[in-house]
Symmetry: D2
């Protein structure tokens, strides 16, 4: 029976690079998004649970879940509304809570599993005009630490990679005209690191690491 | 005309110590809570704005706002519900967003003002079984950094004290039976530090500091 | 009998502002440098011990020691020599070790005392071409944490302020032509904060805080 | 021509696990210590340069240097001498400076190369009675950051792994009687991570990561 990798917030760019990388290793990869074979609104607890029940029935318990869902909401603080903050929190934090609550019981039964919650520059530095995104990404980091400290000893590997740079993708090229590929994070190279993190033995687990292009200032 | 200090999430303990300390310095202190003279549900944007309009009309623009609102929601991760996370976020983060949005326009007009957003041990360390509280407190820290970087140059002093210990109060004595006063943070001593932070000149502003009893492990 | 404050690495700028500030509070202030009334080469253990024996005999045990000694040694890594690194370490770290070893026994006898070890931007961020200075300032921070964790419970308050900016002084004006006063840390304003840190009650001690001009990027 | 990996501070435990791991990948591994084929006192600049000249002549420019030299010097602060601090600094920091100065010119010529400077729990937390070790390990971290920011853009990958646990080895079993293997970092598992770090593409480089056994509190 093949191993199962679930990618939430699946899309072109990092999502599809992760899918290829894990398929190379003979994983069955299950994308979860609003438009995948397994669809879910992960900000809704019931929808998240349904999606993971469906995955469990069809494929078995995931060996790894990679959670990349986030929404880059930012702007001058006084131009933002409550709902900007709420949307940032729901998409980034609540979705992660729901995914982890849906997948952890089965992983704990098996006493093994990896959960990667993807962070960003804004996870450790609250920049000007990034209040909704930064506060949500900080919250995700706090969640990741709390989960690691609660579940690591029970065999669950929780990782919080901090992607400190722009991922090269169609989306980023549209958003940042003039963006140069060589100053970007290549999705394939991130995917390689994520796969490696999953293979770490439990005597030597990484909880947090930064990942950035060599040209990035930090 | 006397200076104005607003304390949100006012209650016995830190709130009343802050009131006394600022009154010693001839501040008019305005507590804001669900049961103060100025009442507000700070998790509601309109209610927060109304409260600060009322304060502006009655007393003038606050020189300092001290935001102490938070709710200690914690527990085993799999025993928690979505609404636990949402409530932690609303009480800790959304209330701060609302307060800052309500008070900043007038402070920016005057190009001066202090906002203190109170943090906790859980603001920098996500402990096991503290996921809702820690993720909310991390988020508040990200918000505080973002506000400091956006508004500091316009004369607004944003401070994020990290209270690393238990405040000695009726509430804490009920919650932690056997608690010893000498291992706790004294509200009066915190109040003294908060007042001093407000008096810092803009050539030498502190954004973050830890505050703990000498007996606290860290 | 008046209280005693010792300032090591005394000079114009921060040193003399600290002297004035503590004298306002009726402290007897004892500068220690290569050219003060009490002279010492603080990188030499015996010389440091002699200086503090002299202080103890003449004035009594210091209530507070403020250690500002550091040497800004930097440059392209491959242009630096071993002795650049050694000098940075001796002036910044070894001097602090010697001062703390000379003053702690008497402070521990009295179960009270404050030691402030001054940090800088380079204490938490190792910048390009700052290797000797940054590695020394990081080391000082590690030392300060270790001392706080060993001696705090015995009544000694160890503080590590991180000065994130340039201090306005004759020296800095010579070093950075065109420097503007309003973008600098004012020595008097830092001195005020240092005095306040010394007055913190032991129920609410700060170990680390950042201090920067409102115009400073961070 | 085979690739070259240099391991400084080579010994049983992590050193020999790294040797095996890189040899599996067809690297020629050159241990450097006081008793290896290539001997050096790395705290001495000339000796370090001689060792790397010898390596360059015999094998070619190293593709990777892994620096594991450190000396665990600790104790009650007031029981330590100046020379304890100096020895900790020389063995941990000065040796790294010397190794980097010896190997960087040739790596920069080739615009490629990896340098791993091994950190420890004490690199980010200055514990009680760990002053010499912590201040030295903090200094190494500052050095690593400074080197990364100076040389990353020129193609040199500088990594600072933080080993947060005890490595299972003959030495650790002697030092900590009753030590259990399953609560330790396995040298082979660390070696695997180090090899992977070296294979990271320059679009996605990690500068810092923590590595700990699943049973470790943090």
């Amino acid at each position: 029976m093949s191993k199962i990798a679930v990618i939430t917030g699946y899309g072109p760019g990092l999502g599809s690079a992760l899918k290829k990388r894990f398929e190379q290793e003979d994983y069955h990869v299950v994308p979860v998004s609003r438009s995948s074979a397994v669809t879910a609104d992960l900000t809704d607890s019931a929808s998240a649970h349904n999606a993971f029940e469906q995955i469990n029935e069809q494929y078995g318990c995931p060996d790894i879940v990679i959670h990349n869902v986030a929404e880059l909401i930012r702007g001058e603080f006084l131009s933002l509304s409550d709902s900007d903050f709420e949307q940032a929190w729901r998409s980034t934090v609540l979705s992660a809570v729901n995914v982890c609550q849906a997948v952890l019981p089965e992983m704990l039964n098996r006493q093994t599993g990896t959960i990667i919650l993807t962070g960003a520059t804004a996870s450790t530095r609250g920049g000007a005009r990034f209040a909704p995104f930064s506060s949500a990404k900080f919250a995700l980091r706090g969640l990741a630490q709390s989960l690691a400290r609660e579940f690591q000893k029970q065999g669950i590997h929780i990782v919080h990679p901090v992607l400190d740079g722009i991922i090269w993708s169609e989306l980023s090229q549209q958003r940042f005209p003039g963006l140069k590929q060589k100053s970007c994070l290549e999705p394939e190279d991130i995917a390689d690191i994520y796969y490696h993190l999953h293979t770490q033995k439990s005597s030597a687990w990484t909880h947090e690491l930064d990942i950035r292009p060599r040209s990035e200032n930090f």
